[in-house]
């Protein structure tokens, strides 16, 4: 199941206007991710999955300042970005569970969500691969004069692979409308970033491409929105690409199989005190929202996610013929 450009447009505009809508979307992402982990434990999903609890503010902040006609190129840790962009929960959970209701009808899985109606290119499971691809999407936007922007989202682990260097360099020399968003969650798979990377801040690397780099509090959805919004506006206006480093943290391990035992004691708890959902809620309460109002929203989100899960569990698994579709154009014709 894929989305709809107009609905995605409306939803993004709500995200941009309304702090409550941003909080609600983050709550939804968290709920989906928590439930996905549980579904794995229950044996209702197979394979692996990479969840983004703790990083929701990046996805929602990006969605709030982009349009469905922009292109988002994201990674295998992409459920949150897909949901924020406007892929229906049913399409995301359907794909994760390998059902016909998934965005690729169940042939893709957790790491491969896709929805052109909301501007989401297939999420990529090879670290760094999306960075040059985003440069290419930006080239299309420029040459076809769509005023579109390509957003490339990747982890800190991607910043040491050649594709990072080549993709950003290309975008820089061609002055392409791209925004490179690094989610620095401090670990590339199981390895702490400081053991694999000599620079302290990924944003420093922007200088070597002659573009602007900036560090952003990735736990603060408003800060993400402001920084990405400025970079998107600059790119749309022809000022070329920027590199934004979101300082963030994943509350889960790298993948389902990883309990994150390599993290020093207390680190997770320290970051959980800066939970993006908690921070946004505190701000809403300060601005006059009531706890009861937020509780009601949370309950409604939980209920609707639960209803989707129930429907997905009951949905059909693809028949064997599904694996033969969409391999070659002639068969799609």
């Amino acid at each position: 199941m894929t989305g709809h450009p107009e609905l995605s447009m409306q939803r993004r505009s709500q995200l941009k206007q309304s702090p409550v809508a941003r909080w609600e979307r983050m709550v939804e992402i968290r709920r989906v991710e928590d439930r996905v982990m549980e579904l794995f434990s229950e044996g209702l999903v197979h394979g692996t999955t990479h969840t983004c609890q703790g990083q929701e503010a990046v996805a929602v902040g990006v969605a709030a300042v982009t349009e469905p006609t922009d292109h988002v190129v994201c990674t295998y840790r992409g459920h949150g970005m897909a949901l924020a962009a406007g892929v229906p929960v049913a399409g995301v959970i359907g794909e994760i569970m390998g059902k016909v209701t998934g965005t690729a009808g169940g042939v893709g899985g957790s790491m491969h969500l896709s929805d052109p109606t909301v501007g989401l290119l297939p999420t990529m499971a090879i670290v760094g691969a999306g960075i040059p691809i985003a440069a290419g999407a930006a080239l299309s936007a420029k040459l076809l004069d769509t005023r579109g922007v390509a957003i490339s989202i990747f982890g800190d682990g991607a910043t040491n692979i050649g594709a990072f260097h080549e993709g950003i360099n290309l975008a820089a020399i061609w002055n392409l409308p791209a925004v490179f968003v690094c989610e620095n969650n401090l670990y590339g798979e199981y390895s702490p970033i400081h053991t694999t990377t000599a620079v302290g801040d990924i944003a420093e690397r922007a200088a070597s491409y002659g573009i602007e780099g900036q560090m952003v509090d990735g736990q603060d959805v408003d800060a993400v929105m402001a920084a990405v919004g400025n970079a998107v506006m600059a790119a749309r206006g022809g000022a070329g690409p920027q590199l934004l480093e979101m300082k963030t943290y994943r509350f889960s391990g790298h993948s389902r199989a990883d309990p994150g035992a390599y993290r020093p004691p207390g680190e997770l708890e320290e970051w959980q005190r800066r939970d993006p959902i908690g921070l946004a809620a505190a701000r809403l309460l300060e601005a006059g929202a009531s706890q009861a109002e937020l509780d009601a929203i949370r309950l409604s989100v939980d209920n609707s996610v639960e209803a989707v899960i129930e429907a997905t569990v009951a949905a059909r698994s693809p028949g064997v013929e599904a694996m033969f579709r969409h391999v070659w154009v002639d068969e799609d014709g």
Binding site: I126, I133, A135, G136, V327
Partner: protein, 336 residues
Amino acid sequence: MRMREAVIEALRAEMSADPSVVFMGEDVAAAGGVFKTSDGLLAEFGPERVRDTPISEMGFLGAAVGAAMTGLRPVVEIMFVEFLGVALDQLVTQGAKMRYLSGGEYTVPLTVRASVGAGLGFGAQHSQVLETWMIGTPGLTLAVASGAESAYGLLRAAIRHDDPVVILEPRSLYGTRESFDAAASSIRLGEARTLCRGKDVTIVGLGSTSSIALEAAGRADGWNAEVIDLMTLQPWDKIHVLESVAKTGHLVVIEEGPHAGGWGTEIVSHVASSAFESLKAPPLRITAPDVPVPFGKELEASYVPSVDYSVDQVSTLLATGEVPAPWWAERLGRDQ
């Protein structure tokens, strides 16, 4: 027309017909390509559509994949096919799978051109054919030009195709002339063509070996060969080859690359499995030995299957009904 000119003409025709076609690669714009396969295109179509790239294959091939998914029809030149080694992820693991992973909603109308092959004295790292890197990837179409006409026809068909297509162009043939009527070009991806008809043996060539096969057929003494230029390796034209073998009862494949794992194994295996009863003798693969391409002039000339060697091999097969040992087995006492 020389083959390099045929490439230019095909690019020119498609770029004129469709403004979404863009061309990029190393030194393809200002310099017109190191093999002069894009001479004049920058002046005609401008720097937005004809783009020089950094020496950065993963970057610009990846960008071409992304551009292809979002409205452009990029053509990428990989100067030497060896340079695909640093970018293969973008072709095999990204580009070829985007249609599948998006349920058919994203397509990748991308053409990758790469020069291949020995014969120019470029040494072990610039003389390979490497088709085997790209066969066996569903979603990726692979074609090999054998001269000006096929280079022209395959490239035009590839640019119009909605899946990623790789076209390999034998470097040694860029200067070779072939006259043909471009307006009447009927070459299609996935279709082989018969270069000459015959009744005793089917010889299948690809790229540089198609003309070797044709010349060998011309020098044949006492036998009569049907020569097929396969042109597309994935998906290859099974019906065309099977129909010919049904008639001749003998199959010979001539490959420029090393013996182990070469593309001919796919042809021979399929024919042996599905038309065993029509074979009067075991199929024969004429290939290069399993060594890197050597540099020395005589060494390099020996490495690539020659016309004389091909004639000898086919003659022995037809006379004895057995597959003859390759030249290196006789000289070096080594197994094939």
